[in-house]
């Protein structure tokens, strides 16, 4: 079950996705976080953010919309309080970084790296829920390359760039991030969606639009991982709609080295440890000793 992801040793390939697991405290009441392959914590910004007005979550068929808007206590608080607490567990800590400007991203990354408490940085250039920055950095190859180059200079740990699916050519964006120095790619963030309340005849989310996640987006995510796997050499973290171990296996067959699990934690607080067990059971049943045996195997036929 062990995998090497961009130089980080993971005891298994499963980690909770950013924004869906807080800083781990809540789920630590349900199981020992050391069972996880790693943890990706909430988006962290320069200063504290309260997020968007509510309602900021809504359910749709086989998925959900969110417009949380990067609510977080700011990088200083994260370094002082959240990360030291998480360090009691034996697991790599990955921090998701967001900002409005290139300087913001660099500032937060540098502070996190200097703390010595993080094992990797995940650049969130794909958040559909903020007015400035966020997704704007993820939809233009040139802009993304510039940001990645700048952050890479101040980043002393592996740099993962999390891509937006809300683009016309994911391969071009992925290649731009790789060329600019990304050590790995995370695919995918949420798709932009909307739900209208028939009673009020208005969108349910206060902000109108939100990010679609959950089983509804899995096939889009698998397709993007598949396309990008062929086009880049750096490892891919597959994310989008993973609910079971078999979903995770599908991503690995498309080319993912590791996977992260978001919305499924809300449905089942034990989702991550369950998925780890299910992957293990699948490997035993199929006689697979190392996940590299099936990584990207879906491509062999094509």
């Amino acid at each position: 079950m062990q995998v090497d992801f961009a130089g980080i040793k993971l005891k298994n390939p499963v980690m909770p996705a950013s924004g869906c697991f807080g800083y781990g405290k809540e789920y630590a009441k349900y199981y020992d976080l050391s069972e996880l392959g790693a943890i990706i914590v909430k988006a962290t910004t320069v200063s504290p953010r309260l997020g968007n007005p509510t309602p900021r979550v809504a359910e749709v068929c086989a998925g959900m919309l969110n417009s949380i808007g990067l609510a977080n206590p700011g990088v200083d608080q994260v370094v002082k309080k959240e990360l030291p607490w998480l360090r009691q567990f034996e697991l790599p800590i990955i921090v998701n970084v967001a900002g409005d400007t290139v300087e913001d991203y660099c500032f937060v990354t540098e502070k996190l790296c200097q703390s010595g408490l993080v094992d990797a940085i995940e650049l969130n250039v794909s958040c559909p829920n903020v007015e400035q920055g966020g997704m704007a950095f993820g939809v233009d190859a040139g802009v993304l390359a510039e940001l990645t180059t700048a952050v890479k200079k101040v980043c002393s740990v592996p740099l993962i760039v999390k891509l937006s699916p809300n683009v016309s050519d994911i391969v071009q964006i992925a290649q731009a991030a790789e060329a600019a120095g990304a050590d790995a790619l995370s695919l995918i963030n949420t798709l932009v969606g909307m739900k209208i309340d028939l009673m009020s005849r208005k969108p349910i989310l206060a902000r109108g639009v939100g990010g679609l996640s959950g089983p509804a987006i899995k096939s889009v995510a698998v397709r993007m991982v598949y396309q990008v796997y062929k086009a880049v050499k750096i490892p891919i973290l597959g994310v989008g709609g993973i609910t079971t171990g078999l979903d995770a296996i599908e991503f690995i067959m498309a080319g993912a080295t590791a996977v992260s699990v978001g919305t499924a934690n809300f449905t089942d607080p034990y989702a991550c440890p369950r998925i780890i067990k299910e992957i293990k059971a699948y490997m035993e049943k199929e006689g697979i000793k190392d996940l590299s045996e099936i990584r990207g195997c879906a491509h062999v036929l094509s």
């Binding site: 924004g19 869906c20 697991f21 807080g22 405290k25 809540e26 789920y27 009441k29 309260l50 997020g51 509510t54 309602p55 900021r56 979550v57 809504a58 359910e59 068929c61 086989a62 998925g63 959900m64 969110n66 949380i68 609510a71 349910i204 959950g214 089983p215 609910t243 919305t263 499924a264 934690n265 809300f266 449905t267 089942d268 607080p269």
Partner: protein
């Protein structure tokens, strides 16, 4: 955890009372806390539904919920029958703090009434003198009034006067306050009701607690989906001190 449905019946139009039994920390429940219920397998409905704990029958290892059918999730719940199994998380959130030997006003509106039942029972056990106002749309919507009467003086209101008094639960509070001199107020119901109530009791010296609703995802404090006045309804709430609540 898994709980068995031991009873599920319609107690008013579109309003169901469901009894759930099994291994649950019944003794630890505070009135006002909620359970987070999985709908079906969770693949179509990825979000659980928060429903307040209306009553605890610890000796029968049973908890009771009362819910109104408003969409697919509650419709699915209404179709559960005796012996079906529900996957629930809980008890979750922060409930109503109790007090002893006080003069208490409880105000409930519509589907905000159920969590106040376990509350009135406990407050009565603690020797409080309780006055309770319950509001419903019309006589079709009325439930559990007799149960509340076991523990205090209850006045019921309906919008059209088809049951109890005609009008709003809040309409006589200002007058009655002078005479009754309540020291504590507890409320759960629609936002306009809470807003009106807060305005009225602001003129008196009273300790108040309101239970609020917000759309939830995780229900355990991790997603920040349910934030209200910068606090998580699922952890710091759903019950908040009235003075902190901005409606």
């Amino acid at each position: 955890m898994l709980l068995h449905v031991s009873e599920n019946k319609e107690v008013a139009k579109g309003i169901w009372e469901m009894h759930l039994s099994g291994d649950f920390p019944f003794e630890n429940v505070q009135p006002g806390q909620f359970i987070h219920i999985l709908i079906g397998s969770g693949r179509e409905h990825v979000l659980r539904r928060p429903i307040s704990i209306a009553a605890i029958e610890a000796e029968k290892e049973t908890l009771v919920i009362v819910f109104r059918v408003v969409g697919e999730g509650t419709d699915w719940l209404a179709k559960r029958v005796e012996g079906d199994v529900l996957d629930v998380l809980g008890p979750l959130g922060t409930g109503f703090p109790l007090t002893t030997k006080q003069k208490i006003l409880i105000v409930g509106g519509g589907i905000g009434v159920p969590p106040l039942y376990e509350l009135i029972k406990r407050l009565w056990q603690q020797g409080n003198e309780i006055y309770c106002l319950l509001g419903f749309r019309n006589s079709d919507d009325v439930f559990w009034v007799e149960k509340f009467k076991e523990y205090g003086t209850v006045t019921t209101y309906t919008d059209d006067g088809s049951f109890g008094e005609k009008g709003l639960v809040t309409q006589r509070i200002a007058e009655d306050f002078l005479e009754k001199n309540w020291s504590n107020v507890y409320a759960c119901g629609p936002v306009p009701m809470l807003k009106e109530l807060k305005g009225i009791v602001a003129n008196f010296s009273v300790e108040g607690y309101f239970s609020l609703e917000e759309r939830m995802a995780c229900g355990v404090g991790a997603c920040y989906g349910c934030v209200c006045n910068n606090q998580r309804v699922c952890v710091e709430g759903p019950v908040f001190p009235m003075r902190e609540v901005v409606l």
